[in-house]
């Protein structure tokens, strides 16, 4: 938007404030008035399921583009920001700067955050559709792709999703307790997540202790015996899914030495020594050794045995179905949609990984979310999405939640959790010390 347009927008918002402040004396909007004083009762009410980057960017675009849209974001956990909080590596704090933009969105007059609400359990998608003109599903990918090879469920084999959740303080992974007493770890997959895991396993503790990595992970890594990490992929160097920045960090990591298989690099004259073994053989099977504590990775076709004590499978996240009322493509593990409009369901949209699949960086999700928001706004503009009826919005949902004994966490409640985490981190010279227990988060939120 040009500067001129921005000024115009601000004036319009001011006018709306003035109008709705007088709303209490106007009785034509029965039942709805006098609640969120900044929103006229005739506004379009949109509900977003998921408080991660997709949810926030979708909300941002909606409230910035139209002044008559009210957006409510529902999030399962008491804390917002999804993978920006739980996925981005602790030593990448600059990537988390987007939280500032999300905070601005959450604090916008026409946006509100409702944490500690599990859609599909505490409230159904159908109930949301009754309360709102439109529902946008942005709940990401909570599951992980499995390899489907023997031995995948052995002790010492973890999904990268759980391992990352463990060092990033995701409550459900707080008890993971991975065994780091072995010398060699194998990571399967060569995307950015795989490199993150490798980097965290090998980073000097002196560097990690200044980040927001969880204390229990820091303690475990300080005791870790892992000295060698093999990052294994099925194809060659030109097909690696990681990006150069992460590769460069790996190579520059203090106290470590990268090694690569020279034969994998056509056109490179010198032999490089790098601990990134790139196999071009097909699949792998993992078989137990001795008492089942140790794990041995075996390549089929060209077979190579690698002794290791830790296997982390980093071949991708996977979206799950959270409500039977939502169409779901189990093969692709996404919600079937056309440009963000969920197929065969009016008023239902999706954005982010649950729409597109679990790939891409935050900026990819940002553009995708803007795209879905544009589609939704287009539908309002064309009349395909009927916003003329009066909908109860968050008032309706709050009533249901209260009946069910569910107490949502507001954004200012989150700010209390935020302050407390920051305070605890300051004592240790860290940006924050994350709370690992939902119960504790709720306690601090209500204080």
């Amino acid at each position: 938007m040009s500067t001129h347009k921005a000024a115009l927008c601000k004036v319009q918002i001011l006018k709306l404030f003035l109008t709705s402040a007088r709303c209490g004396r106007i009785t034509r909007f029965h039942g709805v008035c006098g609640l969120s004083t900044s929103t006229p009762a005739s506004s379009a009410k949109v509900c977003i399921v998921g408080g991660g980057p997709a949810g926030f960017y979708t909300a941002q675009h909606l409230v910035k583009t139209r002044t008559d849209v009210q957006v409510d974001i529902y999030e399962r956990l008491p804390v917002p920001f999804g993978l920006v909080r739980f996925g981005v590596a602790p030593d990448h704090p600059e990537v988390k700067n987007v939280i500032n933009t999300f905070t601005q969105t959450a604090q916008h007059a026409r946006c509100s955050f409702h944490g500690n609400v599990r859609v599909g359990k505490d409230v159904t998608v159908e109930e949301l559709q009754e309360a709102y003109h439109a529902v946008v599903l942005s709940y990401g990918a909570e599951g992980n792709r499995t390899m489907g090879v023997p031995g995948e469920d052995l002790a010492g084999v973890y999904s990268a999703k759980d391992f990352v959740g463990w060092y990033n303080g995701l409550p459900r992974n707080s008890e993971l307790r991975p065994d780091l007493s072995c010398e060699t770890a194998v990571i399967l997959g060569q995307g950015n997540v795989a490199l993150d895991v490798a980097r965290i396993l090998l980073s000097p503790v002196d560097i990690l202790k200044k980040t927001d990595i969880t204390q229990h992970a820091l303690d475990a890594l300080a005791e870790s015996s892992v000295r060698r990490v093999l990052i294994v992929g099925r194809r060659g160097p030109l097909q690696v899914a990681c990006t150069i920045k992460e590769l460069r960090e790996m190579v520059n990591l203090p106290g470590t030495r990268p090694e690569m298989e020279a034969s994998e690099f056509e056109g490179i004259a010198e032999t490089l020594k790098c601990e990134t073994r790139l196999f071009t053989g097909p699949g792998l099977s993992v078989s137990p050794q001795g008492d089942g504590e140790g794990v041995r990775a075996v390549a089929t076709g060209e077979v190579e045995d690698v002794e290791c004590g830790l296997v982390i499978s980093s071949i991708g996240y996977k979206s799950l179905l959270i409500d039977p009322a939502v169409p779901f493509d189990t093969r692709k593990a996404i919600i079937p949609n056309t440009m963000g409009r969920v197929q065969q369901t009016a008023g239902l949209y999706c954005s982010g990984w649950v729409k597109r699949g679990p790939t891409g960086v935050i900026a990819t999700t940002m553009n995708d979310s803007f795209d879905t928001a544009r589609t939704l706004l287009q539908d309002i503009g064309k009349g395909t999405l009927d916003v003329s009826t009066v909908k109860p919005g968050s008032q309706g949902v709050s009533a249901l939640l209260e009946k069910r004994g569910v107490k949502p966490v507001s954004f200012s409640d989150w700010e209390k959790i935020d302050s407390e985490e920051t305070r605890r981190g300051e004592i240790k010279g860290k940006p924050r010390e994350k709370m690992l227990d939902v119960g504790e988060m709720l306690q601090v939120a209500r204080a």
């Binding site: 938007m1 600059e94 700067n97 500032n100 690696v240 990006t243 460069r248 010198e270």
Partner: protein, 180 residues
Amino acid sequence: MALMTSARRLFHVSFREKSLRRAETLISATNTTLWNLSLAGQRMACIRVRDFSTNTQPLRADNKVTVHFINRDGEKISVKGSPGDSLLDVIIDQDLDFDGFGACEGTLACSTCHLIFEEDVYNKLGPITDEEMDMLDLAYGLTDTSRLGCQICLTRSLEGMTARVPESVADIRQSGDGSS
């Protein structure tokens, strides 16, 4: 994917030479001992104290450089900035509000401040670091005269320059092959 993208990129270097350059980088990098977390702060290429909550800047008209931006609607916007400011600083200070621009706030952790320059202006810009190139490689609609706005510092010699804000995603409603 990333290696192929960078291979197709600028500088008319053949893939083989590019691989050699990368190999050399990797070899020299393994000898590197300097690396720390505050590198993020050191990536800010322009000398200026950045405070995103402040929008009061001393206005000394004689010291200003005029720059033009062409936004995604094709509109030309003319603003003034101070030498030493990055183009991202100018865009934020002047409240230009391009959708999603500068997501990582100038720390070389994204490519959303991607700008396209005219060739003669492009040639006057400062050198590009490996770190900027790594992120620029991921930008949508990359051209031979693309740079990241957070790394371009205003100087008097850039007076009157124009930069275009490219689309950040294929606007055409694509079939959606799922590639990122």
